[in-house]
């Protein structure tokens, strides 16, 4: 039984006289048996955080605990961990058997115990009959499975996986993903998994830790991160395609944005007053074509837009819409305010260059404080419709 705990872990590098903070005051508490994904863009510190857990990097400040032991300064070999590397890192001068049994042989296990464990591990990852091959005779997926077998054969307390699927092709990736889930169920150990692929994180993990610029943004179950992101970064990072952001100003009973307004009662959100700058976040699937407005439980008023580009995905269509046709989507400064992405049914009858009207499901509108990026509310309270909606509709029409 071993969880992992990070307390105030900070890692600074001296990059030619310039101090770079890779991990900034990280606090994490991971329970035994949890599958945790670290996600974040490149350079957000997720790999460095994992290296501090592995012992490959000693943090500048803070403590690392595995189980009940403080391991901050222990070498990797004494931490009871195993790791799968992004570049697989099999020892090229050893065959599969030697690769898998490397750690066991170093720990002087009796030969029959080694044989038994290697056999069991190779069964789990379906590598039977390949034990005498050399790594360069194997395909990428097979090598990856050897790397995983090498990790599980020692029965570690904690598994660390640093983008283990990053180098596999799309089909193999999906296959290995389900294998990993099966593995997690079978082994019942703590798994910490680094990825920049939020889809992988969503499907695999019990909880997702979203990192940015070396600090933890949110750690929550995947759907919580998706439905109730703590801040703008998480909202934009989790979900593909990402959330629409529109900046606006709070007025007495609406939020005014450059191109439309949304009925809103500032009194329902604590700490928000008239005149505050906010950012509205709307997921593409919470925007509906105008004719479906009656089916939305708490619809916004209609917003007129012009369809700019359609991206048929098969099971859905992404429609990029411009709210103000005088501006182009290429105008980067304006896109966030002017462009909306809507996800619609594949059989929808919408063409490019068409002027349409859309409605937003108010129950799924997120509001963020523009200055801090913190989420203020994830669901707009219903306001008495009629007057408010009609009024905002009129405004949006001009």
């Amino acid at each position: 039984m071993a969880g992992v705990k990070l307390e105030h872990v900070t890692k600074r590098y001296d990059d030619q006289g310039e101090i770079v903070t890779a991990v900034d005051d990280m606090n994490l508490d991971i329970d035994h048996g949890e599958f945790i994904c670290f996600v974040g863009p490149s350079g957000c510190g997720k790999s460095t955080t994992m290296e501090t857990i592995a012992g490959l990097t000693i943090p500048s400040e803070g403590e690392v605990y595995i189980g009940d032991r403080e391991v901050t300064n222990l070498p990797p070999k004494d931490r009871g961990i195993a790791m799968v590397f992004q570049n697989i890192a099999l020892f090229p001068h050893m065959d599969v058997y030697d690769n898998i049994s490397f750690g066991l042989r170093l720990r002087d296990y009796p030969q029959d115990e080694i044989d038994r464990r290697v056999e069991r591990a190779s069964e789990i990852v379906q590598l039977e009959g390949m034990l005498d091959r050399m790594p360069d005779e194997m395909s990428g997926g097979q090598r990856q499975r050897v790397a995983i077998a090498r990790a599980i054969v020692r029965e570690p307390d904690v598994f660390l996986m640093d983008e283990p699927l990053a180098n596999l092709d799309a089909k193999l990736k999906v296959h290995m993903r389900t294998e990993l889930q099966r593995l997690h169920k079978e082994l019942d150990t703590t798994i910490i998994y680094v990825t920049h692929d939020q889809e992988e994180a969503m499907t695999l993990s019990d909880r997702i830790a979203v990192l940015n610029s070396g600090s933890l943004q949110q750690i929550d179950p995947p759907l919580t991160c998706y439905n109730e992101p703590d801040n703008l970064f998480v909202a934009g990072f989790i979900g593909s395609p990402s959330m629409n952001f529109v900046s606006g100003t709070v007025s007495e009973n609406t939020i005014e944005t450059p191109n439309f307004s949304l009925a809103f009662d500032p009194a329902t959100v604590e700490g928000l007053g008239v005149g505050d700058e906010v950012t509205i976040g709307i997921r593409p699937e919470d925007i509906y074509p105008g004719e479906l407005r009656s089916e939305i439980r708490d619809p916004s008023s209609l917003i007129s837009a012009r369809v700019d580009i359609l991206e048929p995905m098969g099971d859905e269509i992404f429609a990029y819409m411009l709210l103000d046709e005088s501006e182009t989507s290429m105008d980067q400064e304006q896109t966030t305010n002017n462009q909306l992405l809507m996800s619609i049914e594949p059989d929808s009858d919408i063409r490019e260059e068409e002027d349409i009207e859309v409605a937003i499901d108010r129950r799924n509108v997120h509001i963020f404080d523009s200055a801090t990026g913190e989420a203020l509310v994830h669901k707009l309270e219903p306001v008495d419709t009629g007057a408010g909606a009609a009024g905002s509709e009129a405004e949006s029409d001009d």
């Binding site: 012992g55 070999k77 790791m83 020892f91 090229p92 170093l106």
Partner: protein, 332 residues
């Protein structure tokens, strides 16, 4: 008209035509140059061996009388044969070599000194190569430069102080004072007095070779080894070193050959050329020379015998050096 191109070559001399041809088709010139260079190197490296062989089989009495370049008479034209040939045939010289002097013991000395030095150099240079090749620390470049600079010092500069130290007669003092530091043990005529300076002298080259090789092993492999249960040192000797086999082979062959052939230090550290005093091969060869006689044929035969192990080593090691091992290490 295209069909009736003028042939200006007709009016040119043969040199002009050859030049034209060389410019238009430089490959022929390159090949000719390659063969010329190869023949040059073959002659300069192989002729001495041939000359040794000729000397070795010539009976001692014939060595000084007459010319090694015989006069040949071919179809009435007489001239000097351009290659030296043995005057007589006496292969027994290769046996006499071992009878007159315990030459095998000299060879054993050289071999033992070379192996010991190679092991020490490889071990220490591996540690240094790991540090220089894989760790980042301030002053790394400066330190590396220092090591390389030391390797350019003339070995002769160390001989007198080292001889004094290894003689073990007086205590080493702090420079410019008479404060004694320690009294070194007497090392003259022991392997220690040769292995120590050899290791120091040949270390920089090995460090340099191993630094480049160790630096190229991907970090991921070392990390993997450390997570699997080795220390940094363990990763060096279990993963990094085996993967750098070509570099390790190169460094060890170069060190081995250099020590095996070494004469300058060993002739001084072994106070007389006796096998019991750890005198190496060259000491043995020179002991065929007495105050009054010089047995050139035995010296030549001993030289050939002495060189054979190195020739074999190079032929064997060549394959090792050529074979790379890192293929398939990582998915790029």
């Amino acid at each position: 008209m295209a069909t009736t191109t003028q042939e200006p070559e007709d009016s040119d001399g043969p040199l002009a035509r050859w030049t034209q041809g060389a410019i238009q088709n430089p490959e022929r010139v390159y090949r000719a140059l390659f063969y010329a260079a190869m023949v040059f190197f073959l002659v300069t490296t192989l002729f001495p061996f041939y000359w040794l062989a000729v000397l070795a089989v010539t009976p001692e009495g014939n060595l000084l009388a007459g010319s090694f370049l015989p006069t040949v008479n071919l179809f009435g034209v007489s001239g000097t044969f351009p290659l030296p040939v043995p005057k007589g045939f006496n292969p027994a010289a290769f046996v006499t070599v071992f009878e007159q002097v315990p030459f095998h013991l000299y060879m054993l000395n050289s071999f033992a000194l070379a192996v010991t030095t190679t092991v020490i150099v490889l071990f220490v240079a591996s540690l240094a190569g790991y540090v220089f090749g894989r760790l980042r620390f301030p002053g790394r470049a400066l330190l590396m430069l220092g090591i390389l600079a030391i390797s350019y010092f003339p070995p002769a500069a160390f001989v007198i102080p080292l001889f004094q130290a290894f003689a073990g007669n007086e205590a080493i003092t702090i420079p410019f004072t008479s404060i004694p530091l320690f009294t070194p043990p007497r090392l003259l005529n022991t392997p220690g007095s040769m292995v120590l300076p050899f290791s120091a002298l040949f270390m920089p080259l090995s460090i340099f070779i191993l630094t480049t090789f160790y630096g190229q092993i991907p970090d991921g492999l070392e990390d993997a080894a450390r997570v699997e249960g080795t220390t940094r040192l363990g990763a060096l000797f279990r993963v990094i070193m085996p993967l750098s086999a070509p570099g390790v082979a190169t460094a060890s062959v170069l060190t081995f050959i250099a020590v095996y052939n070494e004469y300058f230090f060993s002739s001084i550290m072994a106070t007389s050329p006796e096998a019991a005093k750890w005198s190496p091969i060259v000491g043995g060869i020179l002991s065929y020379q007495t105050q009054y006689t010089t047995q050139f044929n035995l010296m030549a035969a001993a030289s050939i015998v002495g060189v054979l192990p190195v020739v074999i080593l190079v032929i064997v090691a060549q394959e090792r050096i050529v074979s790379g091992l890192t293929s398939g290490a990582l998915k790029e």
